[in-house]
Symmetry: C2
Subunit: 327 residues, 2 copies
């Protein structure tokens, strides 16, 4: 790409998409544009994008193929940060990406490392997209991110940073299956700078990559929080057997009423929990086994935040609550 | 592995397995043993293995888990060359491989490069095995082989090598979709020496590898045959549309009567044809895109047969007909 490549981002107003957008813009390496549904064109968050100088392309991912192709014309790299409930809409995007001649497609990964085949429904849906993308021979990079620091933070009894917690102050700090499983974690605020590097790197073409700020178990996170705050984290022990019972329960509820949003959310969250803590899938060893590249190896010079950095920002009131509204 | 590693081969009497067995034995790098169903223990071809000094382990892949684990004890590398109709029996083998502590599992690949998701039923069945193997974090190498020289050879009018053809002398030499699709080909007789190298190579652990003698299109094969024999190959042109019509026809027949063996065989063969010649999946470019390593890069010093070498052996009467009986 001799001139500045054009990156088009789908989901720019979502929690992950916002951070990606920021990193792409700040990299100064791309013309950054956003793909927005026509029905959302006048929403305040889209107006904000326009005010920030982001060119908006309008197309409905569920709309006509020809319109999608038109919206993707001239795009070098297409990044999909589509919502968890709309993953399969990407099947149609693959066809448009191919026809428009997009040079690299970043399908919506951005989750933990996990296997295919009944462990996480979300991962299995993504696999359908990846398989179709490969069947169509579309150039790609899959980017997974482990779990966010922002949703891995236990509450302290004083409640001094309750405003930054993604969950209610009355929810217990559950520690699962012994709390020793190592987990790949990234600061949500760092994902943008890493994505900007990954998508302009020839080494990552047609590869799977994971971002990583730090690898920590729940016990290690608690030790850091206790050391920094001087408070004792109240812990609720949840055994492997209890996680498995919960998993069976939420899956049964989902099977009984698949359309109920709460059933979907509980299954989704419990599957994450089981994969991360019982199966210990979200680890560098398993990622390497699956063939992933690691941003710590690819970009050793890039400074990303440690969990202590993140916690210091939390205590300074610099970290906003995430997932506090539907996005 | 400080001492000589033990390789256990399933399917040692099959067409692919025989060649693998020969290569493993001739490499002098392994204790080579064969896994055989108890019901086949006294068959002549198994007696032949015993006579050749191959230790036989008896277990039924559809039998009790504990028996399978016992049969795999002490095995360093387990190579599965199970038949195309029994692919899913490998799901249970994965559990046994894991429990027995086998250091590397070679699931039954040994086919052309093709995508997952409705192109080849055989490939999709293998994917179920691969996904389960990865879910169980079993160390592996997938080995694909492209298509065999032995079944890529067109007939010449004189019939001078009809005895070596895998098909009937009355079957036409069909040339599909223009005949220009490049195809990865391997001499069936070379697969053993390549497998012996791949399975003792740390670079191929948890990777996909394809073997390759030569990459040729149908037109290029015909040109070689005509140049070497001085005969003109009679060609029957089959267009892309005709392949697609056939594919729809055999799939409809299979859907109507899935248990009829001829419906299975025709679907299987037509799917190969469509993938190789219409989609052009079985190419180095697509294999690289999918992340495969190439034995030509890994083992540049290993001499494998060219198609001309193979044809010379055919003309010398040194090549046996393959797939001439149920194996």
């Amino acid at each position: 790409m001799s001139s500045t490549p054009t990156v088009l981002l789908l989901g720019a107003t979502g929690e992950t998409g916002q951070s990606i957008l920021k990193g792409l813009v700040e990299s100064n390496a791309f013309n950054v544009e956003a793909l927005v549904r026509p029905a959302s064109s006048t929403k305040p968050e889209v107006e904000e994008l326009r005010s920030a100088g982001i060119a908006i392309r309008l197309a409905d991912t569920a709309g006509a193929h020809a319109d999608l192709v038109k919206a993707l014309k001239g795009v070098d790299i297409f990044v999909s940060a589509i919502g968890p409930n709309n993953q399969l809409e990407q099947l149609r995007l693959v066809d448009a990406v191919k026809e428009a001649g997009v040079k690299r497609f970043i399908p919506c990964g951005f989750i933990t490392i996990s296997p295919v085949g009944g462990v996480m429904r979300l991962r299995d849906e993504k696999e359908k997209v990846y398989n179709y993308m490969k069947k169509q021979h579309v150039p790609f990079t899959v980017i997974d991110t482990g779990f966010w620091y922002q949703i891995s933070l236990p509450r302290v009894p004083s409640g001094k940073y309750d405003a930054a917690l993604a969950r209610g102050a009355d929810e217990p700090n559950e520690v699962y299956a012994g709390g020793d499983a190592p987990n790949i974690l990234t600061d949500l605020r760092d994902i943008g700078v890493l994505v900007a590097q990954i998508i302009q790197d020839e080494r990552t073409l047609n590869q799977y990559v994971y971002t990583c700020g730090e690898v920590l178990s729940q016990k290690e996170i608690i030790a850091i929080v206790e050391s920094v705050t001087g408070e004792t984290v109240e812990q609720t022990i949840v055994t492997t057997e209890q996680v498995q019972e919960r998993l069976e329960g939420v899956r049964a509820a989902l099977a009984a009423d698949p359309s109920k949003p709460m059933n979907q959310v509980l299954a989704y969250m419990t599957e994450y929990c089981h994969s991360k803590y019982v199966r210990a899938d979200n680890s560098p060893a398993y990622a390497k086994y699956l063939g992933y590249l690691d941003t710590r190896d690819l970009y050793p010079g890039t400074k990303t935040r440690t969990f202590r950095d993140f916690l210091a920002d939390v205590l300074d009131g610099k970290v906003q609550r995430v997932y506090s509204k539907k996005s």
